[in-house]
């Protein structure tokens, strides 16, 4: 069909045009990060840096405790995701597959917490954690995540409803398997794809989080990568040292983009599983 072909060509053309706008800021960032300071004001702007230098990356890495930033962010991600996801998986199994007194009330209560804006609990939480002397440690950013997350629980519960037949649990019971054993050997392995999807999303959420770490972490060596990067603004922008800032931005973005490329399939799956299809 001639009509369809022209339409396809137009669609491709428009998408390509749009993608230039989407990707240009990234390329510009990378390009600036490889430039010498005196060349960033060249007009018209040059996309390909000449001469190119990796000096900005080296300088930023040396002048700011970025390695600590990475480690701190990583610590939060790893601890919260392993414990938090496991705890969420446990309660989603209990909520999804069993009847028990007060189940409805408990679950609705938890869903209700999704309605509370962070800004409402942020101040009392800060006061509580500072009373515990936890300010300027990673604990306020880790501990609340260890209790599971209602969004994840809800998601896993939906997933289990379709993926784990009740008969399978009954059969295992008759075979004499205990509660935890059934969860561990049957339910948990079945949840794997859903858990992987939530891990990918969780990584993004925690790695990119800013407000919480900004409030709690004050010593540069204890800050997460995002807080460190944000503090570079005041360090370098007054001197218009954009190559340094852009090098820092590239460093902060790189892990996320890498994870995204390798885990893309889980992102798509998480959308499919949550059933946002209209």
């Amino acid at each position: 069909m001639q009509y369809k072909k022209t339409a396809d060509a137009w669609a491709m053309f428009l998408l390509l045009l749009g993608s230039v706008f989407m990707i240009a800021p990234f390329i510009w960032t990378l390009s600036t990060s490889l430039k010498h300071q005196q060349h960033i004001f060249d007009l018209p702007p040059k996309w390909i840096p000449s001469p190119a230098t990796f000096g900005n990356f080296q300088a930023v890495w040396e002048e700011s405790p970025l390695l600590f930033g990475f480690l701190n962010s990583m610590t939060i991600v790893v601890v919260v995701l392993t414990v938090g996801l496991f705890v969420s998986a446990m309660s989603s199994y209990a909520f999804g597959k069993f009847e028990f007194p007060y189940k409805g009330v408990l679950f609705m209560g938890l869903l209700g917490t999704m309605m509370i804006p962070y800004s409402v609990v942020m101040i009392p939480q800060y006061i509580g954690f500072s009373a515990l002397q936890w300010v300027d440690t990673l604990l306020p950013l880790i501990v609340p995540g260890l209790f599971g997350n209602i969004v994840v629980i809800f998601f896993l519960k939906q997933y289990l409803a379709g993926a784990l037949p009740n008969d399978l649990i009954e059969a295992a019971k008759i075979d004499g398997s205990g509660f935890f054993r059934i969860f561990w050997t049957i339910a948990l392995p079945i949840m794997k794809p859903a858990l992987a999807a939530q891990a990918a999303l969780g990584f993004m959420g925690i790695w990119n989080d800013f407000l919480g770490p900004l409030i709690y972490l004050h010593t540069p060596e204890k800050q997460t990568i995002q807080v460190l990067i944000a503090s570079m603004q005041s360090m370098y922008i007054s001197g218009s040292n954009y190559p340094m800032i852009m090098a820092a931005a590239v460093i902060a973005m790189l892990p996320v983009i890498l994870v995204f490329f390798f885990c893309q399939r889980y992102f798509v799956e998480s959308l499919a599983i949550s059933g946002i299809k209209g």
Partner: protein, 297 residues
Amino acid sequence: MKNKLPGYRKKELWWIYSFVLPPVLGFLIFGLAPILYSIYMSFHHWDMLSPPEWIGLANYVDLLKDEKFYKSIFNTFYLLLGIPIGMVVSLLLAILMNRKLKGISVMRTIYYLPVISPIIAVSLLWQWILNKDYGLLNNFLWQLFGIEGPNWLGEADWVKPSLILIGLWGGVGGTMVLYLAGLQSISSTYYEAAEIDGAGGWQKLKTITIPLLTPIHFFVVVMGVIGTFQSFSQIYVLAVDGGPEYSGATIVYYIFQNAFAYFNMGYASAGAWVLGLIIFLITLVQFKLSDRWVYQE
């Protein structure tokens, strides 16, 4: 058989409750307790140094007289304009992407990249692009159209449009994916029937695509409003100290400043409650109105 064994059921219940206990505890410690404490705080004056002092409704009364607070509310509402614009652009993109084209998955990745990128890094790169004299955008405008671009982040009138622009760039990819999933669930028989009736492209869009996607429109609007009312990180980087004439400050930014720059904890708590109330009311109204326009299968 299982329920006839009281011993087994009892043990099972014990397990069940220990499985649901952590999130319930988490809710009590990190949700309910802070909420109650925050209400209590909002009736006090407290700088975290001297003991809290009961002042009744004074914080709320002061908020009503606080020009900066009104400004931050106005700014936040202004930023909501980005939601309908983003929906139109995302839907358009999704329709284009719904065709079987070569390299479409690469396209999807490109459009989705800003969604996953850290908001802080993204804000820093936009600050560079929007630089008045050397920024990419103004250079582009000058070379292509001979337009002298504004001082995007340096003029009170341009800060909010800039924030909306950046929000669009960062958000359309996510909304587009939702629409794409929606489009793929619409049965092609609707379109075939419409074609037999002689409907053109625009009519099909108006009478089939847009109405059948109303659950997604609804989801996008509700989440978009909640997200806009919570926006903070980009403000922190792009509108330093709230921007020129406080034109970029959002409600959360204002609360943050009061709490963690001025250590005015009671006042900030009162502000947080006003914000919570606004979000709650708007969401409630949206759900009430949804019966009238959201298509249910």
